[in-house]
Symmetry: C2
Subunit: 293 residues, 2 copies
DNA sequence: GTCTCCCATCGAAAAAATTAATGGATGTGA
DNA sequence: TCACATCCATTAATTTTTTCGATGGGAGAC
């Protein structure tokens, strides 16, 4: 049973005539006759009595009509699926590195729910390498990572914004007295760094490797919020994205250290899988980030 | 959009694979790919993300799935239309002559509703000629008439049962004393007859016409119940179907008069239109009459 | 009776669905 | 890492289905 025939059937009932239905639907009359015959034989029931030049529904035809109208209703609902964009419950699986969640994404979440209240956001925090993997295997819809601006296979970059990575200490720390610092000044201090997989930790190590220096942090913590708390207590120096320390720097709780020759810049970037349909939920995610001050 | 494609879609979602769905549905894999492509282009929305060798529903695909399942449910309901025979609300339009309603049909109605409680019976009482007309123009589904057993154009006879038409008088009437009556004895009495269109009135008139006798009833009433009441009060003699006077005759309220040479027999008959689908409602109607004692 | 209207039928034509074969991409397992 | 198998996409050919035009029969209108 195909919908074409069902629609023809309903139109016939409305108009009370095969011929009129044919005209209206742009079929020839014989086509309509054939369609109804086909329906009747598929269903194994007679739909119309043909008496004289009038047709009338059989009782079974009446029954069928109810369901046929059901089918038409559902079909018209289906046709409007695309239109009420994003107004339906949909999931958005976001992969993100921890520092960007705290420093960038968190403040946008209320706005996101204001604009698309029906979305169910699932976040997964992990390091960039794992996030790329998960994006490629479609475990995530979109990822927000910090990285160099390089090509990523199968991934489309939807957004990129430069981010300085800075050395930071407590504003009470004696080292803040210095107007100019060299890398050796820094390395004399106890270092608190993120885990080895963290992209800016890697960047730092690579840069230092050029000068044949090896990095020996006295503490590794995978959580930037904790690192910041420790730094504020004067426990040492860290190397963190600017966005995460900016606020505390403005409040004079933390100080960004001017280290000569170590202006490292990465990009916060949003990617999605190149084979992925870009949903309104994903678009909004990118838009909000793009408009972020 | 055709249901074939929708079913394939649902099967793919169930099995998580185009290939498996193709195997199960007996299609080649390219057919399934084509069907989904067709659906996606008709709806203007992407249904699946094809990432790596895995497929997954897009949010819009998820939405569509709900409706698709709706369509499948309705379709499976449709397939069972024929099966629960007559269990659904259906109308039965019955044409009947008044005397058969009173004398035959009335007592069967409770049984009818016991067996097919969902039927809505509409009855139309009229004379035979009008009932045949209405049957031919599909204003009635079935008619129950008294007539000679002759061919009726476009009508199928579903049932016939002989019915004697008899002269009847009050059991108190002096004429009941006679063991044998001739037609002239009858005609001396005041006659109460049904209207001119009534078939047994016509039969009587035709038979009398052979002997060149013209009928002059002193009263015409189109309602046999009323006629019987009048007869019982001793107002005269009537000519009525046996079935309608039988009960009163048994109770000795009425007497059937033995009139020599006037054994007129007609048939109570059920007809339906030859082009009409015979519904379970109609079948039951015929069956109950056939089994009537 | 003739004419028109309506549905059924039939063979031809058009359109659509289906297939088999092939290819590209992606995991998998030695 | 290199075959190998798996999965979906593509294409051209084939088969099936749908549609059409012409014709016919029956019923109702004038």
């Amino acid at each position: 049973m195909e919908l074409r025939n069902v629609f023809t059937f309903v139109r016939i009932v409305d108009l009370g005539s095969f011929t009129k239905a044919a005209q209206e639907l742009g079929y020839s009359q014989s086509t309509v006759t054939f369609q109804i015959k086909q329906l009747e034989s598929e269903l194994g029931i007679p739909l119309f009595d043909r008496i004289g030049k009038k047709i009338s529904l059989t009782p079974l035809g009446e029954e069928f009509l109810c369901f046929a109208i059901d089918l038409m209703k559902t079909t018209s609902q289906i046709k409007s699926i695309g239109s009420q964009i994003g107004m339906n419950k949909a999931k958005l699986r976001v992969g993100i590195i921890e520092s960007l969640f705290i420093g960038r994404l968190a403040e946008l979440i209320p706005e996101y729910f204001r604009l698309m209240p029906s979305t169910q956001i699932e976040t997964k925090t992990s390091d960039g390498v794992k996030l790329y993997q998960m994006l490629r295997s479609n475990e995530l819809d979109i990822i927000y990572v910090l990285d160099r601006k390089i090509y990523q296979k199968d991934c489309i970059r939807a957004f990129a914004s430069p981010v300085k990575i800075v050395f930071v200490a407590s504003s009470q720390h004696p080292i803040t007295k210095e107007k100019k610092l060299s890398i050796s000044d820094i390395l004399k201090q106890p270092l608190i760094l993120t885990e080895r997989d963290s992209i800016y930790r890697k960047e730092l190590e690579e840069t230092l490797a050029l000068s044949d220096i090896e990095l020996t942090p006295f503490l590794e913590v995978d959580n930037t919020s904790i690192i910041m708390k420790l730094i504020k207590k004067g426990l040492g120096i860290s190397f963190l994205p600017e966005y995460i320390v900016q606020e505390d720097a403005r409040k004079n709780k933390l100080a960004i250290l001017p280290v000569d020759g170590y202006d490292i810049t990465l990009y916060s970037q949003v990617f999605y899988n190149k084979n992925k349909w870009v949903s309104p939920q994903m678009k909004l995610f990118v838009n909000l980030l793009s408009n972020q001050t």
